[in-house]
């Protein structure tokens, strides 16, 4: 019997990542506690190496490998490059935070890299099993990361909640997938689309399966009414980990939704559109209204995430490349803003002091007018005020929604974002209108200082020149469908 080895090149960055995770673990073991920077530098190098590999292999062709279980297309490459950049920024932002809190262990880096690998697999999977493996690799690493500070009661509780609800969601997803398999006899994303199109399968079973899949996805995206875990986990996890959970995995989740719903079950868009509308409206309602009542900044940002995920789902409703590219642009903009916002929260933390309360933002402009200005840009962007990028993200999604004929939905969406503007304004109010409660100086390391300033300005610059990211999003979607 002849064994033909599969083509490994489309997955070269994943393979490189896997090797490097092992290298990082071993290197850290030998380097010991005193030379932890070895692991840090190796991790950053790994991400850079992956980025180079992905960049070199970039092409607009759609390549399948491993018997069609894996796909490499423009969207996958672009999303992966974004993921590397995001993870790298997370590491820069969180470095001093975790070392101040005794969490700078080798596990931190290897777990982050494993999670990144999981995201890469999710983005590139074209088979339900690969999708699931990627998702679980990401989720299990995240559960462990949340619990990394094991002496902290809140963190352990958050990890427990995250794990139990996450496992439930995975169960939903698997159950849905098995129904889809039962109805169509395949788990391959591309074959699935053909079979659904030929209407050779039982529609009823498919729709029931779809319901479970959408529920599973909503769990992972933290869209209401499956959002319950998000506030607790965001609040309980160490801020550095919250930053990680809140940023890069959203990019992967976008890829996940694209593969599952759009590429696999795009023919059933009429069925999932309705579900997504309900999820989107509920998420925007719950997220924006509940956020007003929060006094914990991380909890508030969790609810803000929920509302943003609702807005993101709106992009899928039009079920065309215009809408998907708007959703992609939205998720990129969102990740950019979230990175900066949580970095701001960490900036306010000192050793022995956790910035948890929104009142910790009080008088920031008197303590340090530069960082207050950066935070101002970020908050306005989250609220969707031009000329920040958040506005263009909302504009492109709304445009897709109106284009799909749902003017009422666009009206609902802007009304909820009006409510949302209030709690972002409240942060601005605290920073600019109130007196500081402490005059502790804010002295970040120079790498954080540069990156955070760049992050804040990117929010403004991509707002003044939005074409780059918008064009990239459109390009990614058009070359992958």
């Amino acid at each position: 019997m002849n064994f033909i080895p599969p083509d490994f090149t489309p997955a070269s960055s994943e393979i490189f990542m896997l090797i490097m995770v092992c290298v990082v673990m071993l290197a850290d073991l030998t380097a010991g506690d005193s030379r932890r920077y070895v692991a840090y530098l190796l991790t950053q190098t790994t991400l850079l190496g992956c980025a180079l590999l992905t960049f070199i292999s970039f092409s607009t062709e759609i390549t399948h490998t491993f018997n069609g279980m894996y796909v490499d297309d423009a969207m996958a490459d672009i999303l992966k490059l974004m993921v590397y950049g995001t993870v790298s920024a997370v590491l820069v932002y969180s470095h001093s935070y975790i070392s101040d809190r005794g969490m700078l262990k080798g596990e931190f880096f290897s777990l982050i890299l494993f999670a990144t690998l999981g995201m890469m697999v999710m983005i590139s999977a074209s088979h339900f099993l690969t999708l699931y493996i990627g998702l679980e690799l990401l989720s299990l690493s995240l559960y462990a990361l949340v619990a990394l500070r094991r002496e902290s009661l809140v963190a352990t509780e958050a990890a427990m909640k995250f794990f139990v609800l996450g496992a439930l969601a995975s169960g939903f997803l698997l159950y849905g997938m098995s129904m889809v398999y039962g109805a169509t006899g395949t788990l391959h994303v591309s074959q699935l689309a053909q079979i659904i199109q030929s209407e050779a399968s039982s529609k009823e079973v498919l729709v029931v399966g779809l319901v479970f899949i959408v529920a599973g996805i909503s769990f992972k995206l933290s869209a209401a009414p499956f959002h319950m875990w998000a506030p607790d986990v965001y609040q309980g996890a160490p801020t550095a980990i919250t930053l990680f959970i809140g940023s890069a995995p959203k990019l992967a989740a976008f890829g996940f939704v694209m593969r599952l719903l759009v590429e696999g079950m795009g023919e059933m868009s009429a069925d999932w559109q309705g579900m997504l509308i309900i999820l989107a409206v509920m998420s925007m309602a719950v997220g924006n209204i509940a956020a007003i009542a929060q006094t914990n900044i991380k909890r508030m940002l969790a609810y803000s995430t929920i509302s943003h995920m609702g807005f993101l789902l709106l992009g899928f409703i039009s079920a065309d490349s215009n809408g998907y590219s708007s959703a992609l642009f939205y998720v990129i903009a969102y990740v950019l803003m979230t990175l900066g916002t949580f970095a701001m929260v960490m900036l306010l933390c000192r050793s022995g002091f956790e910035a948890e309360n929104i009142n910790d933002f009080k008088g920031l402009s008197k303590r340090n007018s530069w960082y207050a200005f950066i935070a101002l840009l970020l908050m306005l962007s989250l609220a969707g005020i031009p000329p920040m990028i958040g506005f263009y993200a909302k504009l492109s999604v709304l445009q897709a929604v109106v284009n799909a004929g749902y003017v009422w939905l666009a009206v609902v969406a802007v009304l909820f974002s009006l409510i949302g503007a209030f709690y972002y304004l409240r942060i601005i109010k605290l920073m600019y209108f109130d007196e500081p409660e402490t005059d502790e100086p804010i002295t970040p390391n120079s790498d954080v200082r540069i990156l955070l300033s760049a992050n804040g300005f990117a929010v403004l610059a991509f707002g003044i020149f939005p074409q780059a990211l918008m064009g990239l999003s459109l390009y990614a979607i058009q070359n992958s469908m």
Binding site: I385, F391, L395, V414, L418, L425, Y432, F433, Q467, G471
Partner: protein
């Protein structure tokens, strides 16, 4: 006439660049430097705007000084600028008011000077952008961005209840503009992918969508104007804002709403405008009569002037929806003149507030004994506010009343009551504050206006009288544009 130099871009970006430079001077150790840079920036901003008037061709109603570059292709949005007879005077007004505001805050603002001055410069550039944009998204970006500096100005330098006022101001205006954004998106899709405002003017739309678009625009602009019943943010914002903030708010930001009606509502939805004109006129008349009565009862000077602003802006919207030349031109003159008068009134209150730290009418009395020069200026502006012939306040109101007379006698009758109410609330306040016996030892210690204040008020007094006596240079530039607008509006777009 060809004019290749990107004059409008310069008018927009020069103040913004100076504003950033002022921010860069940092904390209050460099306060004096910040003041001077902002003064130079604002005066340069005024100087570069002068060619806009001198090179303006008043024989055409078409857009002039056009600049057009692709901004982002994804949605076919362009950086498209141009002015006509409606927007040009408003840009000049804005450029004229900015140096006055900078000077008005010269000694008064002692904390975070660079941020205060910089915010006004940036806002001046942004507002020029609003008036000059010919692309809906560009317009929207400038429109919303103008909220940010004003929000900070009210919130940081405002009075005791400033946080409430700032957030109310922001959310109120945001509500209206978000619906306008949806109207833009709808127009973008029906026009086959264009955000150009001039394309929208030519677009034919059925009546029902026209009415919906009109309502979306109405919410955005009515909040800004502000029209009754969405005016309640204005008194709060005015009372809490620092003097400079009140001046800019009344003189400039309220005009954004009026401008919006002329640029968007009337030409894009002419049938809906005709259809709903009566409703708009009734709302305007309520603002004129009812808000005039409310102003009569105020005990706080700033609140009184704020309500009088609402009443005067009611005249503006009344003029627009009379849909005849007298009405619209009168409303335009009223907008410019209100810019001068309300600005001057707020400055006068600011002069008193800086000395006594009270805005309550009851705390004053007999000021004329201590501040005779000031009292004379205040008299002039109070008379102008009441619409005395010979001042700019009269010209606009008279034209609008003439326009109203052509449509319906009772409209004109009700509108004319403003001449009585306006005189009543303004002069009664003037009497209580300025005349009578010296009310308290604090008033006894008042010093008359400084040179700085004298210059400020003189400039405004000349402007008020000039437009009152000889409004021709102002009406001349807008005449052709208004005529064209009227022809455009009278053609159905169904």
């Amino acid at each position: 006439m060809s004019f290749d130099f990107p004059l409008l871009s310069l008018i927009i970006w020069l103040p913004i660049v100076f504003g950033i430079a002022v921010f860069a001077t940092g904390n209050d150790r460099n306060a004096q430097l910040a003041r001077w840079i902002s003064l130079v920036g604002s005066i340069l901003g005024l100087l570069v705007a002068i060619p806009l008037y001198t090179n303006f061709d008043s024989a055409t109603g078409a857009m002039q000084f056009i600049e057009s570059h692709v901004w982002f292709e994804r949605f076919n949005v362009s950086y498209h600028l141009g002015v006509d007879g409606i927007s040009m005077p408003l840009i000049l007004l804005n450029c004229f008011i900015t140096p006055l505001v900078i000077v008005a805050g010269w000694e008064v603002i002692k904390e975070r000077v660079s941020q205060y001055m910089g915010a006004f410069l940036v806002m001046s550039g942004i507002v020029n952008g609003v008036f000059a944009s010919l692309d809906a998204i560009l317009f929207y970006v400038f429109w919303e961005a103008s909220l940010i500096p004003m929000f900070l100005i009210i919130g940081i330098w405002g009075g005791p209840n400033r946080v409430y006022a700032a957030i109310k101001f922001f959310l109120y205006t945001l509500l209206g503009s978000l619906l306008m954004l949806i109207a833009f998106i709808y127009l973008y899709l029906t026009s086959g992918g264009s955000f150009s405002i001039e394309d929208y003017h030519k677009l034919s739309i059925p009546l029902t969508p026209q009415i919906l678009i009109f309502v979306a625009f109405l919410l955005a602009f009515a909040v800004k104007v502000p029209m009754w019943p969405v005016h309640t943010w204005l008194p709060d914002a005015h009372v809490e804002a620092p003097t400079g903030g009140s001046v800019v708010l009344a003189a400039i930001l309220l005009k954004l709403g009026g401008y919006g009606f002329l640029r968007f509502s009337l030409p894009i939805t002419p049938d809906a405008s005709h259809y709903l004109a009566t409703m708009m006129i009734v709302l305007s008349l309520i603002a004129i009569v009812y808000i005039g009565l409310i102003a009569l009862m105020q005990v706080d000077m700033k609140k009184l002037i704020a309500y009088s602003s609402v009443a005067h802006m009611g005249f503006v919207t009344l003029g627009f929806f009379l849909l005849n030349a007298y009405g619209i031109e009168g409303a335009m003159v009223q907008m410019i003149s209100h810019g001068f008068i309300s600005g001057a009134m707020f400055l006068c209150v600011g002069v008193l507030y800086d000395r006594l730290h009270s805005r309550q009418i009851a705390d004053y009395g007999g000021v004329v004994n201590k501040m005779p020069i000031f009292a004379a200026f205040f008299m002039l502006f109070a008379m102008a506010n009441a619409g005395l012939p010979g001042t700019s306040g009269f010209v606009g109101e008279f034209m609008v009343i003439m326009g109203a007379m052509k449509v319906n006698f009772w409209y004109a009758f009700l509108a004319a009551t403003t001449l009585i109410f306006g005189a009543a609330y303004t002069l009664w306040m003037y009497k209580r504050v300025i005349f009578g016996a010296v009310a308290s030892p604090a008033v006894e210690g008042l010093k008359d206006i400084s040179k700085r204040e004298f210059v400020l008020l003189t400039i405004l007094a000349i402007s008020v009288l000039w437009i009152g006596v000889y409004p021709f240079p102002l009406t001349e530039v807008m005449h052709t544009t208004v005529d064209q607008l009227l022809i455009h509006v009278s053609n159905s777009k169904l």
